[in-house]
Amino acid sequence: MNPISPFTYTLRHKGRALMLTALLALAVMGLYLLAGLFQESYVTPDYTINRYLSKFSLVQPDSGTTLDPAVAAQIRAHPDVAQVLPQNNVQIAVPNVGGLAFYFRLLGLHEADVDPVLAQSGVTLVEGQLPQPRTNGVALSQEIATALDLQIGDTFDETQDDDNVFFAHYADIVSPLEVVGILEGRVRLGIMSYEYLDSHERYRDLARYGLLVLARPGRDAAVDDFLRHTIRSSRTDVYTHKLLEEATARSQATLYVLFIPIMLLVTTAVTLVIGAINQIAFMRRLPELGTLHAVGRSKGWLARRLTLETAGLALAGWALGLLASWGGMAILSAAVYAPQGFAFNPLQAMALLLVTPVPLAVIGFTLFIAVRALRHMDAVAVVERGELSLEKARPDRARAENLPRPLAATTFYRRHARRAATLIGAMALMIVGTALLVFVIGSIWDGALPVLANLSRTSRISPKGLPLEAAEIAQIRAHPAVARAIPVTTISPLGLALPLIRDDSPLETYGVTAEDMAYLVELYGLELAEGHLPRPNSNEIVIPWTAAKNRDLQVGDVIGDPDRPVYPDAPTLPSELVVSGIFARAEDPAEDVWLSFMSQEFVNSYRGDWSPDLSLIIVPQAGHKAALDAWLESEIAGERRSVLTYGKQQAWFQEAMNTALFTFSLMESIIALVAALTLAGLNYVFVTQRRAEFGVLNALGFGRRQLVWRVARETLFITGAAWLVGLLGCAVILATLRYGLYAPSGLRLEFFHLTPWLFTLPIPVAVFVVSAGAVSWALSRLDLVAVIERR
């Protein structure tokens, strides 16, 4: 064996080597799993279920059901287009493990076109049959059927949805569809009969009509390019693989925005901790290094050797962490994601990219420490005196204020400011790194909450398939707890851009009579900041302050004009609408109601285009809201009636938030474990350096229990300080989000939701428990008298 090989020290100090390798591996695993699972839960599913766009493209009118014939002719005439097939489609939302749902089109095709589409897509029928013309049959890819828990023979429609305003899977399936076949292939498809959708009275208005464009072999890129740049317009929507990739890339970019800071924080923390451990080790090895220097090894050689020792461990930890991550991801994919139709590849390029800087940062910092330590090393002094005191290198500590209680919990760290800074900094970074994600998710939820605010005063009944009937409305009005039942038509002419969310949040607009509008405006406590309420039969709309701010709208602005969209991708409306008024913003966030109003007569005049169903807004008698909601939920809600009550929506909302938070808790527990072990390891090293101090204190009459208690108090002090610094960091980030991202969009972000703040606790608690436990264990095994004995 080469005694001065970088591996010799590692082999002779296996405990230390194992500790550093394990720390690195845990950090890598924590980051990889966090990024990988987030990607597979929130980004990849959208791409995965729409990847059929890599086989063909879709062209549809922006509004209405008919594509401009000139556009269709232009597409057919393009030389790279092999085939143009008419299609219509309706959408369903496919749920995934992360608690979200992703839109998926059920493509309506003529019988003759089904086989070419399947062949082009590399998809085959593996069970059942293909949909017959003019029937409600649907052939679904196995993964989609699995995600929706559907089998051959099952039917699905809007009646199976909960009345949840946030998550509806079959909102557009107004009449039952039956699963008749299961498909298998490289892309996911849902195929049904064109004629069925076209001939069904209710689907005809709902379905989107357009063309399915197949490129000639090898000309996919050219067709994609042609559709995106020539055909795509404010009146014509185009869906191509390139656009899907761009949308996925944008989601990915959002993910990077979230994860790069987390990666940096965790990497910095791990680097600081390992750097501190290395620095202590280097100082202990000064006699060895001084001797080697004295016998002719240069400082550069010594620095390289020290760095190579750590590099070997860092790379081993990185490799082990990756292997463990891949194993973990493979298990999760097979056990959790595959049963829900979203199996994935454990090898994730983005996650790999995020964890690569970890070992590099550790190696770089180690080199820096080694060079710095060796620069001041006086080899002669080292070999003469045996060691070079660290303390002597600090002239700033020459005079210190005497403390009346030298054994106080704060003394050690007051006199070791750099150690304290390392521990506090590393821990605070980890706290911010993990809690940041929860704060961001929490802020997204915050942004969505006002959608429910109107339900705190009224409830709503909407039809599912079967319109509300006069007798039914009369029965509801007759209920003693009902003060008023107001018929409204609901449309969504605008979308609000919520930070960090790809899809706009639709702004609900009630079409009501002038009398009901005035009543509801007063009931919801809305006040006009400027302008006036929409006049009967006019194309006017009154919008909330948030919508005006979010979309930069003023009184007099026109929305819905395809040639002058108020924001990119603004929907084209059957008729242009003019903003006639803007509601003032409520002072109390709980009172903030995101509702806009229009003339019911005007909306009804476009019934064919907007196809609004009549809903009922139920106003309770004072003090009877709870009883009325209970009655509505038990007596009215059902397959044909959707009842929206505040309590139920809030409960669903909370459930969805809890699911997300549970996922994050699991992820945070990995990081908390890394933090706890890393920082406990560092604290343990710090404490073992103080053996002489504990020995002499024991000799002077301080019992083992007192010493453990003192170390526990010191640890409590340092973790408490780190927690406070972490809280401050979170508050700064939250303030940045609030004033930098939310306020400019007209949105509020609450500072004082308890849950995200609770996510700052696991790391300091874990660090304290593991650290105090490890040190207590070490002290209980330490022969304190042997420390001061001269045997």
């Binding site: 030298p406 002077l700 008298v785 001269r790």
Partner: protein, 230 residues
């Protein structure tokens, strides 16, 4: 006051056992200065650790005012060391992140302003009034040992145990340190372990040890008589 009876301390060294102290009996009275003399490995420090309660004997018993250490719990023995005994070691064992004043305060029964003043006065008596704010690594060897002596005296213990207190000091400084320790006899007893007979000239009793056993006990009169004869 302090008595050790038939003390034996056995260490296990692989398959062999080694008696660091073998069947030693000793008695110390108030205000006595006892010296324990012997070469390295003679068991003198081990005897000091037994008498101070830092180690428990394999056989025999130590009594303070008739109370046997063996009948006391660990906590009681620890409390005894804190209230009744003071320690000075060959290495100063000062806590390196505490100042001279703070190192002494560590042993004060109560950490309050009154004791801060007492500590300052004590350090001033030991010639350290201008070094109160200094950290151990900013002090010379003799100064560190003076701080260690102050730490041993601050709570007015009944016995100070000094284990080779001059071992790392030059002769002149060593004699100064011993003079400081001897001065404590007005308030309590002093038991000093050393291999240097010169520092024990003022001792009331000198116990010589070799291979863990007492080979000779001489009081001051006997030593002075012997010196006169020589």
């Amino acid at each position: 006051m302090l008595q050790g009876r038939e003390l034996t301390l056995t260490y296990q060294d692989g398959d062999h056992t080694l008696d660091a102290v073998h069947n030693v009996s000793i008695g110390i009275e108030d205000h006595q200065f006892i010296g324990i003399l012997g070469p390295s490995g003679s068991g003198k420090s081990s005897l000091l650790y037994l008498l101070s309660g830092l180690r428990q004997p394999t056989q025999g018993e130590v009594y303070l005012d008739g109370r046997a250490y063996g009948k006391m719990s660990d906590r009681e023995r620890v409390a005894l060391r804190r209230s009744e005994y003071g320690f000075v070691f060959q290495q100063h064992f000062l806590i390196n992140y505490l100042t001279a004043l703070e190192n002494v305060m560590v042993a004060a029964p109560v950490q309050d302003e009154a004791y801060v003043e007492q500590t300052k006065a004590l350090l001033a008596d030991l010639g350290m009034s201008d070094k109160l704010h200094r950290f151990p690594y900013e002090l010379s060897g003799g100064e560190r040992q003076r701080v260690a002596i102050a730490r041993a005296m601050i709570h007015r213990p009944r016995v100070i145990f000094a284990d080779e207190p001059t071992g790392l000091l030059d002769r002149h400084t060593g004699l100064q340190v011993m003079a400081l320790l001897r001065s404590y006899r007005d308030r309590g007893s002093l038991i000093a372990v050393t291999h240097n007979p010169e520092v024990l000239t003022e001792a009331d009793l000198v116990i010589k040890m070799r291979d863990g056993q007492v080979t000779e006990i001489k009081d001051r009169v006997a030593r002075q008589t012997q010196e006169a004869i020589l």
